[in-house]
Symmetry: C3
Subunit: 447 residues, 3 copies
Amino acid sequence: MTSSATYHGDGHGDSDSEPEVTAAGQAMHALARRLWPINRSITGPGLRQTLHALSEGLPGLSMIEIPSGTHVLDWRVPPEWRVREAWLQGPDGSRVLDFAHSNLHLLGYSMGVDQSLSLAELQAHLHSLPEQPDAIPYVTSYYQKRWGFCLSHRLRQSLPEGQYRAFIDAEHVPGSLSLAELLIPGQSQEEIFLSTYCCHPSMANNELSGPCLLNQLGQWLLALPTRRYSYRLVFLPEMIGSIAYLSLRLKQLQQRVIAGFNLSCVGDERAYSFLPSRAGNTLADRVALHALAHTAPDFQRYHWRDRGSDESNYCAPGVDLPIASVMRSKYGTYPEYHTSLDDLERVVTAQGLAQSYRLYQRMLTALERNVRPRCLVLGEPQLGRRGLYPSLSQKGSTRDVRQLLDLLSYSDGKLDLIAIAQACACPIWELYPWLDRCRQEQLLACD
Amino acid sequence: MTSSATYHGDGHGDSDSEPEVTAAGQAMHALARRLWPINRSITGPGLRQTLHALSEGLPGLSMIEIPSGTHVLDWRVPPEWRVREAWLQGPDGSRVLDFAHSNLHLLGYSMGVDQSLSLAELQAHLHSLPEQPDAIPYVTSYYQKRWGFCLSHRLRQSLPEGQYRAFIDAEHVPGSLSLAELLIPGQSQEEIFLSTYCCHPSMANNELSGPCLLNQLGQWLLALPTRRYSYRLVFLPEMIGSIAYLSLRLKQLQQRVIAGFNLSCVGDERAYSFLPSRAGNTLADRVALHALAHTAPDFQRYHWRDRGSDESNYCAPGVDLPIASVMRSKYGTYPEYHTSLDDLERVVTAQGLAQSYRLYQRMLTALERNVRPRCLVLGEPQLGRRGLYPSLSQKGSTRDVRQLLDLLSYSDGKLDLIAIAQACACPIWELYPWLDRCRQEQLLACD
Amino acid sequence: MTSSATYHGDGHGDSDSEPEVTAAGQAMHALARRLWPINRSITGPGLRQTLHALSEGLPGLSMIEIPSGTHVLDWRVPPEWRVREAWLQGPDGSRVLDFAHSNLHLLGYSMGVDQSLSLAELQAHLHSLPEQPDAIPYVTSYYQKRWGFCLSHRLRQSLPEGQYRAFIDAEHVPGSLSLAELLIPGQSQEEIFLSTYCCHPSMANNELSGPCLLNQLGQWLLALPTRRYSYRLVFLPEMIGSIAYLSLRLKQLQQRVIAGFNLSCVGDERAYSFLPSRAGNTLADRVALHALAHTAPDFQRYHWRDRGSDESNYCAPGVDLPIASVMRSKYGTYPEYHTSLDDLERVVTAQGLAQSYRLYQRMLTALERNVRPRCLVLGEPQLGRRGLYPSLSQKGSTRDVRQLLDLLSYSDGKLDLIAIAQACACPIWELYPWLDRCRQEQLLACD
């Protein structure tokens, strides 16, 4: 195959160990380590601090604040949660656990308290996982007022009888819900929509991996010399954030978005996962399934029923955005999920992030290049005089030009390049050089 | 799951041993025993007597008589058959067999005869089954004049040489073909059509089970406080009866019937069977396949080619009614079929009838409840403030509300509830309480 | 089954050993033997001689000559190739190989040469197959000027060092490209298109089998008393020939052709092969798949990607003719392909040709008989009074009339007979007698 054509940011190679990809993996992992200790929740200073940190690499990322109490679709924005300090003191006066050591120790959206109570009384406010005795579970109570601590079951079982002091200096105050948005313009007003969520405290795959990957993809997109489509990137708190964002942007999204992804659980090195849009056959589904089939054919395919994140809103009836999810180990399915074990050492790695970055580049590049080529000659073109066909015809001599012949044969002006690649049973990225060459040779037009 | 909603005649539970169902099974079996000895055929006093017996539980069931010789579609109504007496006398003067002991002994629609003849001459008029030597076969000759007796092969082989006297006091006279019809009105003029046939003499699964089940279902339908659809029940002789009925009602049926079933072979306890409509994808097919998959997933699925009853007429080209068949052991497939072995002891039981009753209730209820719900809010609704969602979010906490979330997510105003239940991978009856609750909460509308 | 109907040239029987078929196989094999020694190429006297030989059995076959240099779609007709003599002389003065012994010895479209050269210099002009050391390969260089010889690898390895004389008396001169066309008129102007290619020198399956089969089919078609469709038969050089033919006839073909086949590799006795049209669901595909499934259910099903002959042009985007390929061992897949081993003894047999003839007769007959029957009565017709139904009804008595009942039931005026046969799960040819009988009985109309 000979081709002088190149494509900006094409990034199609066979290896995830390209220097650019490796460097991206390390940058994402470093960013995740930096964001790790921040106490994020669906509102509050930790979320805000995280969004600002993400904005450093993404000039133009703009903050949106939606006041507490605002009606957003069927929901209301909750009051802002602020925590200053939280610990549990044992009968002997020592601190049994401290929010300063792990923000998972505090029940998400916990009320403040300062109370002395017996171990028996305390139990109703403790959360642990008997089947994972070393893990601190991640538990929240956003919409009902509670206070509580989360801790390893091993620690819980070692607690002696006696009087404990529960101290939580936290409050729920009028404030706002924070989210951040970046629109990267392209030649078309049609948009690719990329959403991720930043409301989880110190956990890695679910969920520092999504924001870090989206940050890296944003930098890559900004650096491209040209873009066919516009890109809309949003960082928000899960569920209430996407509800709030839809209440602001619904019509615009419905008019412009041709495909999109909810980035979540993209940092470990285990199997890839795919969760379709509600419709199941949108452009997002098609490009994701194609890229996965040719990158990780053993990926795990989930049903719409297995959803559990912002796609529930983006694909809800009447919203109907074309949003799919391409993940590594899906939320809810891996043992470390929603516990302190979901960390940046054993679960999320630079390599895992780099591989996801690579896959998303492939998908976005495929969308950029997804034209509907139309053959400009009738019958099979004479490739020989264009130097594209072996001049000596013998057994097997045309093997190397099969892809070119198939591309030409399927270029009926109706099939898009993803469909053609499916018909050719090859990755779409193997067709780019052929397509470029055929356009040069006036064999194909892409209206 | 908490739901204050109830549905009249919903009848969705997990057990076939509910008292109402058990009682229905016993009532059906008792009715079958009462109808057993009557000599039914496609015309005549036995058919008429059967229809009158069935009308006792179904006030409003009206008799229709179509005179012999009437042209009905491609057919003509045959003369009426009346039998007074029939027996075969052996060489020693004793009765070898007597119609009074089993009406199967007489060839259906046999001519009258009083003739002395040798065993060799007699053989041409005898019918038996060498491979089922203890069974009296059911044989008819409606449209060609013959006389004959049916008997067990064992008895036939034991017949001694000598002179026999064949005596059949039967005649074919101008009369009429009888059928019975009941229209149970509902809120809509759209109809569910339920047809069964009453032309078989003393056999149980094929066919006393169908008329007895339809009788019971009719009583249940009449007792419902309201019905969304109208129900049309017909009891007729097979083949010529449905032809005659179509000749009377074709246009009306085509305008009104949205789904229907031919009730046949519904009384034994063996595997369930499904035979589709000719089109294969009508509402009747869809509701039957859904109910079967969630009631008896190992049911036997037949092809349209395997048909053999009135659906041949109801689904014929140009008639095209949406009629499917849900059976137990299908006609033609079980060993006792069309013999004296198809009885009310070993084949058809109260339990078998009760299970079929239960399944038909499920199907009819599913049709009654088959709305197209439409979600009234954009994005996923906030279920928590409606008490429908756990306020404490931890690993696995939303498992119990998956059905509710799925119902809401699929309620796009286009899918009907059967399709939604298929998408939710659950029985439609598990969605009724959720649907009722969502309507109360103004989350769903069902236009 | 009783039927007085017969159909001209129906040829549906269960055996390939019918005398007519056996005789056809022997005639085809004899024709192939006669054509074997001719030096065919994509132009030139050998091609012309072959076309004239084929015309002997096909009165009306008309020759078309397209001058060298003519622009045809994306191609130009090449100069004509004429060979008088070609041989290679060894160091000892004897002839190492001679075109007179096998025309495969000469590189197809070789330039002329008369040159003395060492063995080392000669090697660049020799072609052999190390993995098939006894085979002379078939190699061509149509569009780049070369000279060369092809020989068995065994012979090549035995060549001694020394001076060789390469002598090729060949020239490329302005002339024309030859093809032949026969239009056999039918009642309709709609056409069945049958194309084959005659450009291969002495090889049997690929490709003397195609021209010989098409010649035989043409004789059969001409002998039919009536034909529903018109038939267009073309014999041409592969690739450039179909390109040239399309440049002459494209609009006409697009307006008239309802189905067609590219006849190639139809002479051996190995598995049948099917290669679809590009669209994949044309009438040609449907009839081929049906006939294959009921003739050789273990046939090999290929993908459009596996194409390699004139269908590339006939089905190209913008051409879009409904052309499929039904073959025996497909080109490129059997060991003897494109070598001297593809011969008329071990590969192509009279029996293999006869079986293919039989199958094509079945497909063409199925197209002729592919009506859309419409049942003229409502409900199932009364077959008994027409002598089509057993008058005695007992267990299993209707088994023999299932096909008739199914034919009637599926005759809705929308399905064609191929689709009905598929629904009936029987070969279409088993329905012809039933169809004829039903038309006689006024039960079916075929508008």
